[in-house]
């Protein structure tokens, strides 16, 4: 979707502000939001990303990264029937206090989710091949950034087939496709504003691409 999340190349956001010795979480609520969502993970990361993309642009920008997570989490809980808006408001008015664990949990182990799937067909493109990206503008989820539509590049690497986010985010199945790292010259992407001597690599699914001479 053409949303505020698709930021590559936008103007107007100013200087990159770096905070020295930054803590992992700045506020307790950020840590709790992160922890709650991770504890329930095993869900569909593509649907999760799309849920954040569908926030209105003001909400998206307002409370930073964990604010976005919270807004999408809350909407998912309410939409899925786990909580109601009334319950949350009532509990807030009562001056909610954080629950305390009575016994420690067993140690957490980070687990990798593998998105690779086997497909029967061979990859359509080979390393070094010239491709052009499609003018793909779905209303739903996609991982083709707007700045890379209708741009010519070269296949830099052929990855295995992986779950196709554009379908998976909407519950239409995994429909795996080959993934390619595509190299674009800066001039192809940014025209007269391009940095000399720079390239951008983007990981793109097979159906985003067409062969070109």
């Amino acid at each position: 979707m053409n949303g505020i999340h698709d930021m590559g190349g936008m103007h107007g956001f100013g200087k990159v502000e770096v905070e020295d010795n930054e803590p992992v979480f700045h506020e307790r609520w950020e840590a709790r939001v992160f922890g709650m969502i991770q504890s329930l993970s095993g869900g569909n990361i593509d649907a999760g990303r799309h849920s954040i993309e569908r926030l209105d642009p003001v909400s998206y920008l307002k409370n930073g990264y964990y604010g976005r997570w919270l807004a999408a989490f809350e909407r998912g809980l309410i939409g899925g029937g786990a909580l109601t808006q009334d319950e949350i408001e009532t509990r807030m008015k009562a001056g909610a206090s954080a629950p305390h664990a009575t016994a420690p949990a067993s140690r957490w182990h980070s687990r990798a989710t593998d998105y690779v799937r086997k497909v029967d067909a061979p990859p359509a493109f080979a390393t070094g091949q010239a491709v052009i990206t499609r003018n793909h503008q779905p209303q739903g989820h996609t991982r083709l950034p707007a700045y890379a539509r209708c741009r010519r590049g070269l296949i830099a690497r052929v990855h295995p087939a992986m779950i196709f986010p554009d379908d998976h985010a909407h519950g239409r199945g995994e429909n795996p496709q080959y993934l390619y790292t595509v190299r674009f010259a800066a001039g192809e992407l940014w025209g007269d504003a391009a940095d000399a001597n720079s390239v951008v690599h983007i990981d793109l699914f097979e159906s985003y691409l067409e062969a070109t001479a």
């Binding site: 502000e17 609520w29 993970s41 009575t102 980070s110 950034p145 990981d203």
Partner: protein
């Protein structure tokens, strides 16, 4: 910070407490597990994981080759891997090539080797600008690259995660892998810094 902003912060903290207490009562989440996940990301994973990988690659040429050719196996060999790092690609800086990583569409980042990302990495300013004007952004962040150095930006738009293998600094020849790892910063492994040489 304005009064309104303080008020909003208090409101959001209260909202999250309300949600957590309701979800706990309903048996949907377990507060102890949330505590443990927070502890894990605050204490057990962080840039030191990546730094030890980099230091080994600098001191063990066979490991460097494995890291570049089969990164997932080479990272697992060091005991690392997991969430947000199931398919890694390691890109090596060279005298005339500088690599830098971003996720313009969200904020993808190799959690299992670098921990959770810093705020600037997730900021609209970085996500919008690093693909378009990498040389200017890197200069602002303290890396001044001459025009004859090619900049390669990696936009992590799918489930592949990137780690930059920085150049080993001059004057570090006598250091042990542990001493080298202490020099390697998080930002150097994202590509927005160089590894500083050892201070005497």
């Amino acid at each position: 910070m304005s009064h309104d902003h303080d008020h909003e912060d208090a409101d959001i903290a209260l909202r999250v407490e309300a949600i957590e207490s309701l979800l706990t009562e309903k048996g949907i989440i377990d507060t102890a597990t949330v505590d443990e996940i927070v502890r894990y990301y605050e204490q057990d994973v962080g840039p030191l994981n990546g730094a030890s990988i980099v230091a080994r690659a600098w001191t063990d040429p066979a490991y460097r080759t494995r890291l570049l050719n089969s990164p997932d196996l080479a990272i697992a060999e060091m005991g690392y891997g997991g969430t947000e790092a199931s398919r890694m690609v390691v890109v090596a800086n060279e005298p005339k090539v500088h690599n830098v990583v971003v996720c313009t569409l969200c904020s993808c980042y190799p959690w299992a080797v670098l921990g959770l990302p810093p705020t600037w990495y997730k900021s609209p300013a970085y996500r919008s600008r690093i693909v378009r004007e990498p040389r200017a952004v890197l200069r602002e962040m303290g890396v001044d690259l001459p025009e004859d150095v090619e900049i390669r930006v990696w936009d992590s738009s799918a489930e592949v995660r990137y780690l930059v293998l920085p150049e080993r600094p001059a004057g570090s020849e006598a250091l042990s892998p542990a001493e080298l790892a202490a020099l390697v910063t998080r930002d150097a492994m994202i590509g927005t810094a160089k590894v500083p040489g050892p201070t005497k």
